[in-house]
């Protein structure tokens, strides 16, 4: 598919991403885009200009209408914030029917029922980490001590990987998440990708010889199933689980703790009413712009009228989840973090066939962690609230450390 009109016939693109790397504020450019007639033309650090989609219903349309293809948007021209060039053999970048076939195999490991069985393990892991905090006493960096360890331990358990390798997982995750501002080069990214894939191929080999009750075993056993996976499929799926499962959850844990510790009114509210923890997490997921910008464009397979713009076949659109989550027509007082908000159909986990595979796992971990944070450490506070360091050079936004005492 090729675009049928010249860039010069289209509006001058705005520079994107809008958000600052540091802090959790959302750039006013999103509200301006939602108020504008039509879609907003933007230019990302990599690839060709694209249409930014910012209104809730338009974003949902892009994410659920098969006339918008994820696979078709890939390639050197793909509008990207990520320095890494997306591969078509990654679950998140597939269209049906390949996507359906692979997600069906991996979904078993992430089902609600499996998550309910995993929950006691998540609780045990978290309690152990908090016991360690209490024994050592403050001050302590919660990012290192809990937010990074907990999702890593959980993903290792799920995947059947060895926690002893956690430092390498974190390094690979950071390098693969590089933006234009990263200190890592294309060569570093290529090497990290190759190392991670080699590591996972080795883990797959191990599980073929010594099966366990883990996701990697499920995947290698599916190599002989009705619709068999190839060795590359197995590595690709495990790659997605590892990269998407650790960094994002760590980041959202850090953000939710930061939001409570920087507004003690909210912390008090949850201490007084711990039954609000679940809705508080949904609200923090909705409200927090936890990436510098949107990451996954789609290409229109035919001419489609969207949000007042006729998107021509071959043109790409970039759906913004964080903007949809601030759409005033869906969320009253959308700029306010209201931990008691009850109607909250946010899109933080996306929507449609690429809705986050691990959403229920992430929710379970966030709920368990936040409940312990609220209940176990009375008097918890940031040691230096004025100088919280922020992550830089990666797509995820959040504190890079949260030193606390109690």
């Amino acid at each position: 598919v090729t675009a049928s009109r010249l860039e010069t016939e289209l509006p001058q693109p705005l520079k994107y991403p809008f958000n600052e790397e540091s802090g959790l504020a959302i750039d006013p450019g999103y509200a301006a885009a939602r108020a504008r007639d039509g879609l907003t033309r933007v230019q990302l650090p990599f690839g060709r200009p694209t249409w930014l989609v910012t209104r809730y219903e338009d974003v949902k349309t892009v994410l659920s209408d098969s006339r918008f293809s994820r696979t078709g948007a890939l390639g050197p021209d793909e509008p990207r914030i990520l320095a890494y060039m997306h591969r078509p053999d990654t679950l998140l970048n597939m269209d049906p029917p390949d996507h359906t076939r692979q997600r069906r195999i991996v979904a078993r490991a992430f089902s609600q029922r499996r998550m309910e069985r995993l929950r006691p393990r998540i609780e045990a892991i978290a309690v152990e980490l908090f016991d360690g905090l209490e024994r050592r006493g403050g001050p302590v960096d919660l990012f290192e001590a809990v937010f990074r360890s907990m999702p890593t331990l959980v993903i290792c358990e799920l995947l059947g990987a060895d926690y002893a390798d956690h430092t390498r997982f974190h390094e690979w995750g950071v390098i693969m998440g590089s933006t234009e501002a990263s200190r890592y080069t294309q060569e570093d990214i290529r090497r990290a990708d190759a190392e991670l894939r080699a590591y996972l191929a080795e883990l797959a080999e191990l599980k073929r010889e010594q099966p366990g009750e883990d996701l990697m075993t499920t995947l290698v056993q599916a190599e002989a199933g009705e619709s068999p996976l190839t060795d590359a499929d197995v590595v690709g799926l495990a790659w997605s689980v590892l990269l998407a499962g650790i960094g994002t959850t760590t980041n959202m844990m850090a953000n939710s703790a930061y939001l409570l510790l920087s507004d003690l009114g909210n912390m008090r509210l949850l201490r007084d009413r711990p039954e609000l923890v679940d809705s508080a997490i949904e609200e923090m997921l909705r409200h927090t712009p936890f990436t510098v910008g949107s990451l996954f464009p789609r290409v229109a397979l035919e001419d489609i009228e969207l949000g007042g713009t006729l998107v021509h076949a071959g043109e790409t659109v970039l759906p913004s989840l964080m903007s949809a989550n601030r759409d005033e027509s869906v969320f009253a007082d959308s700029g306010t973090l209201d931990l008691t908000r009850s109607q909250n159909p946010h899109l933080a986990f996306s929507h449609g066939i690429h809705h986050c595979l691990g959403s229920q796992l992430a929710r379970a971990q966030l709920q368990v962690m936040l409940r312990l944070l609220v209940e176990r450490l009375p008097g918890l506070h940031l040691v230096d609230p004025e100088s919280v360091p922020w992550r830089r050079g990666v797509t995820l936004r959040g504190p890079s450390a949260l030193v606390v005492d109690w």
């Binding site: 359906t100 997600r103 069906r104 992430f110 089902s111 609600q112 029922r113 159909p345 929507h351 066939i353």
Partner: protein, 85 residues
């Protein structure tokens, strides 16, 4: 029941109290599901013609809110009670 007989007819239900409105089913099987008030509903509940994408939607639903049964008999076709599920 694992083999897919294309002559089969199915009953499809969505537990709307469990549905989280992820839209996975609507994206995967747009002819069989639609969103109504943010939650999924089968387009047809009875006599749904056998279709792999409907099974895929039932298996991949993050909330396991979808059930597919053989019409009339009540035999559950998906999601299967897998050993690891």
């Amino acid at each position: 029941v694992t083999a897919l007989d294309s002559d089969q007819a199915w009953d499809v239900t969505v537990d709307r109290t469990v549905c989280i409105g992820s839209g996975v089913c609507v994206g995967m099987a747009p002819d069989a599901f639609r969103l109504e008030g943010g939650r999924s509903r089968p387009v047809r509940e009875h006599g749904v013609p056998a279709d792999q994408t409907v099974l895929a939607a039932a298996v991949t639903c993050p909330a396991l809110a979808i059930e597919v049964r053989l019409a009339g008999s009540g035999v559950v076709i998906a999601p299967e009670e897998a050993a690891d599920g």
